[in-house]
Amino acid sequence: MTEEETKDAILDVETDLKERAKPRPGDIAVSENMLSEAENVIASMANEYITWVKDDITRLEGFFEQFAAKQDASSLHEIFEVSHDMKGQGGSFGYNLITTVTGSLCKVIEALQKKAPPYGEKEVSAIKVHIDAIKLIASEHIKGDGGDVGRQLVDGIDAVKKKLNM
């Protein structure tokens, strides 16, 4: 590599994307209707989502059992990974509460990961509370913010976290 090629530089990169994305007669351009249609496609996947989220919950429960017994970092990490994935998906399919509760669970785990084990009974049960809430949301198909039930769930979880200073 020559000296010229390693010098600090700003590269003005040409791209033909703008030209290619210009709608021409007869072409399909992304319209408002198309966007709404795309949102409908996502909404229609909500039933599939609720099926696969049950698999996620099963995995979550499995890792939790392992963690409750061994209090090991690896199962705690796995719980984080599953809940982090769930956090990123729920809202797309209208299950905003799953995103909220799993997001909260991620924060609880991050707080625990900063501490050395063994963890107290209350800290372990904080994870359990989250998993139970997720199970309830999925089994009852609670969409959106869940109204009063949703508010109670979120308030309950917040109260637990507050008690544990999380």
Partner: protein, 444 residues
């Protein structure tokens, strides 16, 4: 029939004058009643009598009463003179009743009526006092919920509802002496009229702008700020304070229609359901050329045979995560195309993580959970705002300075002005192995 069509002057007999003539025991509208009421409404009880203004859509109720009286009296509608109160066969002052002997024809009955008149003014004052908070509370809460509905689902009808409430407040605020409510509500009406000309859904900023107006009205009410003298700067300052809290996020604004059907995408995610979701969205946009991979390593291999126009990648993956994958695309000497636009989807929204992703060389970030509009807006950002690439010892990737400001007065960290090198467009089917477009291998 021909007779019917002839131009004629039709005299309509009205019994209003007869009806408005006072009879013993009748309630009459006196000048003092009007003055007293107007003074109360404008917050200045001792306001001297005002001139009646010409016809205006912002007529106050008191002015309307005056108008009614002028119509009854048969005087010109456009008169600028204070109308003579009807039933003024005995003029009664609500605040200082004259002595009976001072006025010819005045007797004790008149004093009783004067007392009644005074009571009626007091009753009206109480009624208005009770009505203002109720009216304000109702309208503000209606405005709040209408804006919240609008944020959830944009529709022209919903926007009209917000306009209707604001327009109502515009008319009534001034009437009750809350001129600033009228001022802010008028501004909100103008904003809505502008937004109604748009065809695309409202952006978060636009909804926040409407909310800012509603919040300002709450401030005016909360502080009981009446009139306008000297108060506009206070309100403007508070509006600016509220405006600072508006998120500068315009992510969900839908840009102009684009044809992305002929573009190719590589979707990288370890979760098959997320891959399916992103692919479904892209297919909905008419795009057919979509490949996928379950992690960075797999995606890197795929890129060698599938030179995608855009890469959409997740962050959390193994064995190679999204950040590592992006760095490899940007800096590896075998990279098929170091300039490939990359959109990163991530559930990590903490600042340090965002900086980490940015420093790896991604073009755009999209927080999960994703929506079709959000993804489309990122694709459009890549198409509409292609960024120059920066090559330094420590970084290679799209220019991280998104905004270029001439007003910047801080320290210029780019001490040596970088050399501008034009790079021709990389065609989709070229063999990039010649390394011509590659950055320095020292770049990290």
């Amino acid at each position: 029939m021909a007779e019917d069509k002839k131009g004629v002057i039709i005299e309509i007999k009205s019994d209003l004058l007869e009806k408005a003539t006072a009879r013993p025991g009748d309630i009459v509208v006196s000048d003092d009643m009007l003055d007293s009421l107007e003074g109360f409404i404008s917050g200045k009880p001792d306001t001297p009598p005002k001139e009646v203004k010409p016809a205006d859509e912002n007529l106050s109720k008191v002015e309307m009463l005056s108008k009614v009286k002028s119509v009854i009296a048969g005087t010109d509608k456009r008169t600028r003179e204070k109308p003579t109160a009807k039933n003024v066969n005995i003029v009664i002052s609500a605040t200082s009743a004259p002595k009976t002997e001072d006025v010819p024809g005045m007797n004790d009955d008149c004093l009783v009526r004067a007392k009644d008149d005074s009571d009626r003014v007091e009753t009206s004052k109480t009624l208005i006092k009770e009505t203002i908070p109720k009216w304000i509370k109702n309208d503000v809460s209606r405005l709040d919920s209408a804006i919240a509905n609008l944020a959830e689902k944009h529709s022209g009808a919903q926007l009209r509802i917000v306009f209707g409430i604001a327009n109502n407040m515009r008319r009534q605020g001034e009437f009750f002496g809350f001129n600033l409510i009228s001022f802010v509500a008028t501004m909100l009406c103008h904003v809505i009229e502008l937004l109604e000309k748009k065809s695309s859904p409202l952006s978060l900023d636009e909804v926040a702008m409407m909310k800012m107006h509603a919040d300002t009205i709450k401030i005016v009410i909360g502080n009981q700020i009446k009139g306008t003298d000297g108060k506009v700067p206070v309100v403007s300052e508070k509006m600016l304070k509220v405006a600072k809290d508006i998120p500068a996020n315009t992510t969900d604004e839908v840009p102009h229609a684009k044809d992305i059907a002929h573009m190719s995408f590589l979707v990288v995610d370890d979760n098959k359901h997320m891959r399916a979701l992103v692919k479904s969205i892209l297919h909905s946009f008419g795009t057919k050329n979509v490949h996928d991979a379950a992690n960075g390593a797999e995606a890197y291999k795929e890129l060698k045979v599938f030179p995608a126009d855009v890469i959409i990648t997740d962050w959390n993956m193994a064995p190679m995560n999204g950040v590592e994958f992006t760095r490899m695309i940007r800096t590896d000497k075998d990279s098929p195309n170091p300039f490939t636009p990359i959109i990163m989807l991530t559930g990590h929204t903490e600042r340090h993580r965002i900086m980490n992703a940015r420093d790896s060389g991604v073009n755009e970030l999209l927080a999960k959970p994703i929506s079709a509009k959000g993804l489309y807006s990122r694709i459009c950002a890549i198409i509409d705002n292609p960024r120059e690439f920066v090559r330094t010892k420590n970084y290679f990737g799209p220019d991280r300075r998104r905004k270029k400001s001439d007003d910047y007065t801080g320290i210029e960290r780019r001490k040596t002005p970088p050399v501008m090198i034009p790079i021709p467009a990389v065609t989709k089917n070229n063999d990039s192995d010649d390394g011509e477009n590659l950055p320095s291998s020292d770049a990290v």
